[in-house]
């Protein structure tokens, strides 16, 4: 039986306090990569591209996607490596679940924490993007909601992988075979219309694709082509992944 209580907040709070201690390290880790992508690809590669993409400059096309992908990477990192470390090496989970906080609460607390880290990362990136003058609409005020959803989705997904992982190496498969392909084929770097039909079909089931479409619409103030599909593809798998992760982790820890 799976029951998450409000005690998950205790676990979230523990992570928050621990995060404050390593604030600057965390910040550099989270922001370094996305800024590199934006500058190197956006301005570097963008300079060679004469044509506009979907009516915008390359860096403009790229920026909204980088916001959501930085959120994705933050959530994935937090709920794979960090959670695994706490579970296996530091035995933090063991210590917590002999208190009234149950394993379900621990998983929920870590997942919401992962989503929080994703939000922080995405927001920082959003500020960078805005500073480059690439934000054009008040609709972008909804970006925090979007990146929280992205964060929750990928934190749940990553937590499920963590619950199944025998060791750290296992995460390489997840990153190389799932996350990286998603990153390249979700319409961040190139419009999906560039790809053959089957790749387009495949990327249509990637949640990140839908997040990128929404992000681009919010930043530009345009109407997305398929908003309902986008939102459903982000939210519904999240709920499934979350409960699956909780169930799987409980099975692993309590036996």
């Amino acid at each position: 039986m799976i029951k998450v209580s409000q005690r998950w907040i205790k676990v979230w709070y523990r992570n928050y306090i621990s995060f404050l201690k390593f604030f600057y390290v965390n910040l550099v880790g989270n922001l370094g990569d996305p800024i590199l992508y934006l500058v190197a690809m956006g301005f570097g590669l963008g300079a060679f591209l004469g044509n506009k993409i979907e009516g915008m400059s390359y860096v403009q096309f790229l920026a909204p996607g980088i916001i959501v992908s930085s959120a994705m990477f933050a959530a994935v990192y937090e709920c794979t490596f960090e959670s695994f470390l706490k579970m296996i090496h530091l035995r933090t989970y063991d210590a917590i679940i002999v208190t009234p906080v149950n394993i379900e609460d621990v998983v929920a607390g870590d997942v919401v924490w992962g989503a929080t880290k994703a939000m922080l990362s995405g927001l920082m990136m959003f500020i960078v993007v805005a500073a480059f003058g690439l934000v054009h609409s008040w609709w972008s005020l909804l970006i925090p909601v979007l990146i929280f959803l992205v964060g929750f989705h990928f934190a749940s997904f990553a937590m499920l992988i963590t619950a199944m992982a025998p060791n750290f190496d296992y995460f390489s498969y997840f990153l190389e075979l799932v996350i990286t392909p998603m990153f390249f084929f979700c319409g961040i770097f190139f419009p999906l219309s560039q790809f053959p039909g089957w790749v387009q079909g495949l990327s249509g089931v990637f949640p990140l694709t839908h997040a990128v479409e929404l992000s681009r619409a919010l930043v530009m103030g345009t109407v997305p082509a398929r908003p309902v599909t986008n939102i459903l593809f982000l939210i519904i798998p999240s709920i499934g992944l979350f409960y699956w992760a909780v169930w799987r982790m409980k099975k692993r820890m309590i036996k």
Binding site: Y13, R14, I17, L90, D94, A95, V98, T99, P100, K255
Partner: protein, 304 residues
């Protein structure tokens, strides 16, 4: 309210039986010990009590509640010090305690006061701001005990409280545990150290292969299974057969290993002088201990 009652308590894994239908009851204000070789099922029994491992059979009540139905309620009144230290290395000594208090929903102000008290109790006040990784193993163990007390538990569970510590650290921990006993905290301890069990426990259960073999006060167990005294004879210049013949007139039980013979008796003085007269040199008379009971019941062979 009994801290723990177990009837036919069983834990089976896919192809092993870790705990095989044990019955025991821990009395209020009692310090109850589990001793037994590795793999005897002590830790699994502990884990079932503190809701970490669900039982597969039998009945178990912890503080009058069933751990499989009300784990949060049971855990709220337990203090747990597991075998492996699992202090939070991201937090300093003081915050380890206040954060733990937060898991028990103890308000922050009260938690801070309690944490100070407990650090004084385990003599770690000066280490308040220190990182966990900078503590010695004795300090870590003391901090684990302090953490286990943060919620004023009705029952404290200690899985090998002094494993791997130097004598000073062990004695300090024993002092603290005795003080808790005098404050009427019920305790369950597992240990490999027989002196620790004798020192701290009102009653001990000797476990082997998932079963409880005997339960009782350490003194009673020693008297019942060994007697008052033991004579150890090194088999350097004699043989077990010769010794058996020489000791035949005395009321003794004899146990032999490849190196030594153990002779258990109520009063070993006559036997000792007799053997000395017969020319035995490598010979020792000493009081019987729980270790003798333990080895007699669980065997002298290595358990892996």
């Amino acid at each position: 309210m009994l801290p723990v009652t177990a009837k036919n308590l069983t834990k089976k894994y896919k192809d092993t039986v870790a705990v095989n239908g044990i019955d025991f009851a821990v009395q209020e204000k009692e310090c109850f010990g589990f001793i037994g070789p590795n793999g005897a099922g002590k830790t699994t029994t502990m884990k079932m009590i503190y809701c970490f491992v669900p039982r597969t059979g039998g009945e178990l009540l912890v503080l009058d509640k069933d751990p499989s139905i009300h784990p949060e309620m049971v855990k709220a009144d337990l203090g747990v010090v597991p075998q492996d230290n699992n202090l939070d290395e991201d937090l300093n000594v003081f915050t380890n305690l206040t954060m733990y208090a937060n898991y028990f929903n103890i308000p922050h102000g009260i938690a801070r006061v309690k944490a100070k008290e407990l650090l004084a109790f385990v003599q770690l006040t000066e280490k308040e701001k220190v990182k966990i990784t900078e503590l010695s193993s004795g300090m870590k163990r003391r901090l684990m005990i302090a953490r286990g007390l943060i919620n004023d538990p009705k029952l404290l569970i200690l899985d090998e409280p002094t494993v791997g510590l130097d004598p000073q650290a062990r004695h300090l921990i024993w002092d603290r545990l005795r003080e808790l006993k005098s404050q009427n905290v019920s305790m369950i301890i597992t240990t490999h150290y027989m002196d620790e069990a004798t020192e701290l426990c009102d009653r001990v259960a000797v476990m082997d292969k998932g079963k409880i073999m005997v339960v009782g006060k350490p003194k009673d167990l020693i008297r019942e299974h060994i007697g008052e005294e033991v004579v150890e004879v090194m088999l350097l210049d004699t043989t077990a057969d010769k010794l058996k013949k020489d000791a035949a007139g005395f009321l003794v039980t004899l146990e032999e290993t490849s190196q030594k013979c153990y002779l258990y008796c109520q009063d070993c003085r006559p036997l000792l002088s007799h053997l000395t007269d017969k020319g035995y040199k490598h010979i020792l008379r000493r009081p019987a201990t729980l270790e003798d009971v333990f080895l007699k019941l669980t065997g002298r062979d290595l358990v892996d």
